[in-house]
């Protein structure tokens, strides 16, 4: 019998060469590998740098106030408006021009970055946290838990979210927290569905069975064995959820349902600009460009992150399942 004769054969070379391979003792985790790939991706590095710059601008916004001498809500009717009361264009004093109240568009765009980034990151984080927990529970426990949670997510997903967000905000009243909460509420379901789908396949893996055979409890299996394996698609999704949330916040502000004026937001500025674009293109173009550059940077990064984690995955926008 072949097996019997092989039993006395010397060990295979791969196993014999252990000492040589031992030079590189620390294995590289899949995360490290993905990060390596990202670092070699020029688009990823470029967009990451762009995001860092935007974040720095947001953090050091008060510096802009110091340099220009214009506060984000300050109205400079003498210098910032023409005698006829029309906004002045970009000049040495107002680099990005002024708005209809004589406020410095540059300073307001810079301060607006704070709101956009904060709302985007906070809403996406909450959505991911909630989505991961719900998706994990639905996928892992299955049965009635799954039915209830999945149906709930389906309903939320099928709602006309902007219409609902409008209704919610108009009842609760608008504020930063409400915006973040509403955005998170309408985003967690997609995270939850992705996680659920992943968990469904992972919980059938033998290593989960192995953990169970060792006597591991549900919590340990969920968080030690299952969760790390669903994180890759979640991370990919987060980088794409942040720009979506930024746009969502801007849309709410645009409709007058976001952060309360006079706090500058990009969406709010665009909303005001709609009445002035014929006389003050800068009023529309600069906040618009800021918004576009930010979302573009995040989307480009998200695209690269997806490639880094799974080079074969080319159906980013495909429905799950």
């Amino acid at each position: 019998m072949s097996q019997l004769s092989a039993a006395t054969a010397p060990p295979e070379p791969a196993e014999a060469g252990l000492s040589e391979a031992a030079k590189k003792i620390e294995g590289r985790s899949p995360w490290q590998l993905a990060f390596e790939r990202l670092r070699r991706d020029r688009v990823a590095v470029g967009s990451a740098i762009m995001i860092v710059i935007i974040a720095l601008i947001a953090i050091f916004a008060p510096l802009a106030k110091r340099i220009t001498g214009h506060g984000p809500a300050g109205q400079y009717r003498d210098t910032g408006l023409s005698p006829a009361g029309i906004p002045v264009g970009p000049n040495g004093m107002f680099w990005f021009g002024t708005d209809e109240l004589g406020r410095d568009v540059l300073v307001r765009v810079i301060y607006g970055a704070r709101i956009s980034l904060l709302a985007g990151v906070a809403a996406a984080s909450i959505a991911v946290l909630v989505g991961v927990v719900i998706g994990l529970a639905a996928g892992y426990f299955g049965g009635a838990v799954d039915t209830v949670l999945s149906r709930f997510m389906d309903v939320v997903l099928s709602l006309p979210y902007l219409v609902f967000a409008i209704a919610l905000v108009s009842v609760i009243g608008s504020s930063m927290q409400v915006s973040i909460g509403v955005i998170a509420f309408f985003s967690f379901s997609s995270v939850g569905r992705i996680v659920r789908g992943q968990v469904l396949s992972i919980k059938e893996k033998e290593y989960v069975e192995a953990a169970r055979s060792l006597g591991a409890g549900n919590m340990r299996i969920m968080f030690v064995d299952v969760l790390p394996n669903v994180l890759a698609p979640v991370i990919v999704y987060v980088t794409l959820l942040i720009p979506l949330s930024i746009v969502f916040e801007a849309a709410l502000s645009f409709l007058g349902l976001g952060v309360v004026p006079p706090t500058p937001t990009w969406g709010g500025m665009l909303s005001d600009a709609i009445n002035y674009y014929q006389v003050a293109w800068w009023y529309l173009v600069f906040p618009g460009a800021a918004l576009l550059v930010t979302t573009l940077a995040f989307n480009l990064l998200g695209d690269s992150v997806r490639d880094a984690f799974d080079p074969r995955y080319n159906r980013l926008f495909a429905a799950e399942e």
């Binding site: 019998m1 019997l4 092989a6 294995g27 893996k205 192995a210 055979s213 060792l214 006597g215 064995d225």
Partner: protein, 351 residues
């Protein structure tokens, strides 16, 4: 090998309901994965469990480890009836029985390092902590022939054989009494299979382990097992000492399985008749009446359709050798070959 029975299975049944995928789930049928199995395993022996894919071997293994709850029947481990133990009550018993899985790729979490994977049993059972755990894990790695310095590597950085060694180390961590090996080498290259088998052998000698060894490769089972049980459609159709089963098979199914066994000796291979079974393995959702092997059996008669044969001693066999067949195969008896036309469309029927 002692005569103490360590593990006893009595009429173990595991059925899986088949649900429709509707909103309101309705049970539409039942898969008879394991359908009344009696088995006793003595301390220190290796019991081989053979049968075709889908015959219920793996389900039985998972029932023994209580990864599945039984539909009915009883499992006694040592002095304890573990059939109905809750998750919490089961935990201390899990130290005493472990499993080695078939797929060396699927059984190791790809996102965790090898050290923590092997250390899992200690973590879950709260046995050793910190440095002590690491030391114990590295001892285990050495024991199974892995380089302890690879503690921080990921499973992906190991070959299939090495991964299976990791699985063995994990199973061995808590010094169990029984290890259920679910096709532990079938996913490996032939040359590496022997190494793992030898490792398991050595470990059995060193720690007095009891193995339940599941495989569909009959030559490996012959090599490792003291006794062999042959499964067909969720039932044990023949059970006995290895030498008996291989030299004096009584059940036509066993005979057919053995006839398909590859042989290194061309003369033996030439001389042996190759029995080709008719038809496919029937669906376990709707198993045949009587003897479930009857639709494919060359010796089947009306009696086989009507009455299910009990597992009992045939001819002058020793009492440990029992087969479930109304018309057992005698020594030297030649089973009728299937007709050529029928044989044509039964490719891959026998292993």
């Amino acid at each position: 090998m002692s005569t103490e029975t360590l593990l006893r299975l009595e009429n173990v049944v595991k059925h899986f309901p088949v649900h429709s995928t509707r909103l309101l789930r309705r049970t539409e049928g039942v898969v008879h994965a394991v359908d009344g199995v009696d088995l006793d395993v003595r301390r220190g022996e290796t019991v081989g469990l053979v049968g075709e894919t889908g015959c219920g071997k793996s389900t039985l293994a998972r029932c023994i480890l209580r990864l599945y709850d039984l539909t009915s029947g009883r499992i006694t481990f040592g002095d304890t009836d573990i059939t109905e133990l809750s998750r919490r009550k089961m935990r201390p018993h899990r130290k005493r029985m472990q499993m080695i899985f078939q797929d060396p790729y699927g059984s190791l979490n790809p996102r965790r390092r090898v050290g923590p994977i092997i250390g899992d049993p200690f973590a879950i059972q709260n046995v050793a902590d910190g440095e002590e755990r690491k030391r114990k894990v590295q001892e285990l790695m050495e024991l199974v022939g892995l380089n302890p310095e690879h503690y921080n590597r990921f499973p992906a950085e190991f070959s299939g054989g090495q991964r299976q060694r990791i699985g063995v180390a994990r199973a061995l961590a808590l010094r169990p009494e029984v290890i259920v090996c679910d096709e532990p080498v079938s996913a490996l290259d032939v040359s590496i299979q022997a190494q793992i088998i030898n490792l398991l052998d050595d470990l059995q000698d060193e720690f007095g382990l009891t193995y339940i060894f599941i495989a569909h490769d009959l030559s490996i089972v012959e090599r490792v097992s003291d006794r062999v049980a042959v499964m067909y459609l969720g039932k044990i159709v023949e059970f006995g000492p290895t030498e008996q089963i291989y030299n004096h098979p009584r059940h036509p199914y066993t005979k057919a399985l053995l006839s398909a066994m590859p042989s290194a000796d061309p003369d033996v291979a030439e001389a042996r008749e190759r029995i080709v079974l008719r038809g496919d393995v029937p669906s376990p959702i709707d198993p045949p009446s009587g003897c479930s092997f009857h639709p494919r059996c060359p010796k089947a008669q009306q009696h086989c359709v009507d009455v299910e044969p009990p597992l009992e001693v045939k001819f002058t066999d020793p009492p440990a050798h029992r087969a479930a067949c109304h018309f057992p195969v005698g020594d030297g008896e030649v089973l009728a070959h299937a007709t050529p036309e029928l044989a044509l469309d039964t490719e891959g029927d026998v292993l």
